[in-house]
Amino acid sequence: MKVLVPVKRVIDYNVKARVKADQTGVDLANVKMSMNPFCEIAVEEAVRLKEKGVATEVVIVSIGPAQAQETIRTALAMGGDRGILITSDADLEPLAVAKLLAAVVAEENPNLVLMGKQAIDGDNNAVGQMLSALLGWPQATYASAVDISGSTAKVTREVDGGLQTLDVDLPAVVTADLRLNEPRYASLPNIMKAKKKEIASKAVADYGVDVAPRLKVLKVTEPAKRSAGIKVETAADLVSKLNTAGVL
């Protein structure tokens, strides 16, 4: 079976985002960018499915600026077979991304879309759910275990309060949570081999999808700063301070 894995190029998770002085957005100039951590987990799971003989082909797709090609190369070095880059300089909303991915699914006919549960920049946690709704497929979000047998997938999900296990019929959309696996590092030989793998180059216009933004960003501001705290010397001192603050 074929697995499609959407990946996103985002600010590196270790970098603290800085808001631009003119409040138009977050300053991404000269900031280290990487593959979204949840996307790495989705790629890893897809490659493991291939290694188990469950998946036959792993197709990586990314929508973003030309540099998103590097993100696709990383996924190919981890074990993806080929890539599709849909170039877009605009920062597309989840609805537009879901529509573009639905169009890619219509072309590629995968049996499974495996993707991250959320991107660490927009923190929307929406594209996977929206894609499955647009396709009319079942969804299994926040997956911490995926077990595929025949035409169904048994997916264990992380929910408030514990874990839930669902049986979904394929094709389906599964979104990965942190606990699903530990992504591998690409080895140097694999990075070299990935350079030879094919990446199809597409444009948003190729898919005839309406990507007009529905949300207008009025401003982006810094959250209120916490006033500087104090260091206390002893536990007893701490308790008396907390009593004074009225929180005990």
Binding site: I11, Y13, N14, K16, A17, V19, V26, F38, E93, P94, L95, A98, K117, Q118, I120, D121, D123, A126, Q129, M130, S132, A133, P138, Q139, T141, K154, D160, G161, G162, L163, Q164, T165, L166, D167, V168, D169, L178, R214, L215, K216, V217, L218, V220, T221, E222, P223, R226, G229, I230, K231, V232, E233, A235, A236, L238, V239, S240, L242, N243, V247
Partner: protein
């Protein structure tokens, strides 16, 4: 304008996140209805009817709704969507699961995890792990919004809305099983005090030995950093942070937690933050109101003694 709030419940209890979402809804419009999705959830609907400001309560029941299957939940909401200008869902794991499905079927852009209602079409939400706040204006005729419960006060009790039964919905996705963490402590997301442990604990036994008695003494919920969860010291459900739970208690006590960006995203709106860490340069001290630079092994027993001495 009419607003539909989808209740957070476990078929028996209405959760506090619903009251907080009603508060956000009342800032948009005075006409707020609550939809309860579940199975055998009449009691939940009755509880929702008591929230002050609620116009009426709609109860939709089926097996799939009782198990929180997103496809069924989205279908049940969509069946009613024609009557509403905005649909508000608490940003819990259940709410985040089905709300985007509703938005996609309505062809509108969902607005996730709002922390402020600026006006009926303008909302503020955190992005980049809470390091920036984005104010967005929606041009969609219908809004689908998830609400961060910790950002809103709970709506008061004292209402007496009527309860109406509406159609349930089914799905092809099948529920297999669930495994819930049993706890007598307050629920993490709604607790007034949270005591969290990090990687420094070193083992699950140590985590339980150190963190749990302190939490019990304070009547607090127990949280954990991702490092502690990944290492197996605490269940996943305890994780506080960008990808775990977002909490904003009156008091948050971080023990042996360095304070990575992703952890701070889940707790930096707490009223008072206390950090106990032996590394004086740990980033957690930059957000802590009260910091104690000490090894938790000595500091926590001392803290327990000091609490006892203070009559706790």
């Amino acid at each position: 304008m009419a607003v539909l709030v989808v209740a957070d419940n476990d078929n028996a209890h209405l959760r506090d996140a619903t009251h907080k979402t009603v508060t956000a809804a009342l800032k948009i419009s005075g006409d707020v209805d609550v939809l309860v999705l579940g199975s055998g959830a009449k009691g939940v609907a009755d509880q929702a009817a008591k929230i002050a400001g609620v116009r009426k309560v709609l109860l939709a029941e089926s097996d799939a709704l009782g198990h929180g299957i997103a496809e069924a939940q989205a279908d049940a909401v969509l069946a009613l969507a024609g009557n509403y200008d905005a649909i508000l869902v608490p940003a819990t794991s259940g709410g985040k699961n089905f709300a985007p499905r509703v938005a996609a079927k309505l062809d509108v852009a969902p607005i996730s995890d709002i922390v402020e209602v600026v006006s009926a079409d303008t909302f503020t939400r955190p992005i980049y792990a809470g390091n920036a706040l984005e104010t967005v204006q929606s041009s969609d005729a219908k809004k689908v919004i998830t609400v961060r419960p910790t950002a809103f006060a709970a709506a008061a009790e004292g209402g007496s809305a009527s309860v109406e039964t509406v159609g349930g919905a089914d799905a092809t996705t099948r529920f297999v099983s669930e495994e819930m963490v049993k706890s007598d402590r307050p629920e993490l997301a709604a607790a007034k005090i949270v005591v969290s442990g990090g990687r420094a604990m070193g083992s699950a036994e140590e985590f339980q030995r150190v963190i749990e008695p302190l939490a019990d003494k304070l009547g607090a919920a127990v949280g954990a950093s991702r490092a502690a969860v990944d290492a197996g010291y605490a269940p996943n459900d305890y994780q506080v942070g960008q990808t775990g739970k977002v909490v904003a208690p009156a008091l948050y006590v971080a023990i042996g937690i360095s304070g990575a960006i992703q952890h701070l995203a889940g707790m930096k709106d707490s009223k008072v933050i206390v950090a106990i860490n032996k590394d004086a340069d740990a980033p957690i001290f930059q957000v802590a109101d009260f910091g104690l630079v000490a090894d938790y092994k000595t500091a926590v027993p001392e803290l327990m003694d000091a609490l006892t001495a203070a009559g706790k």
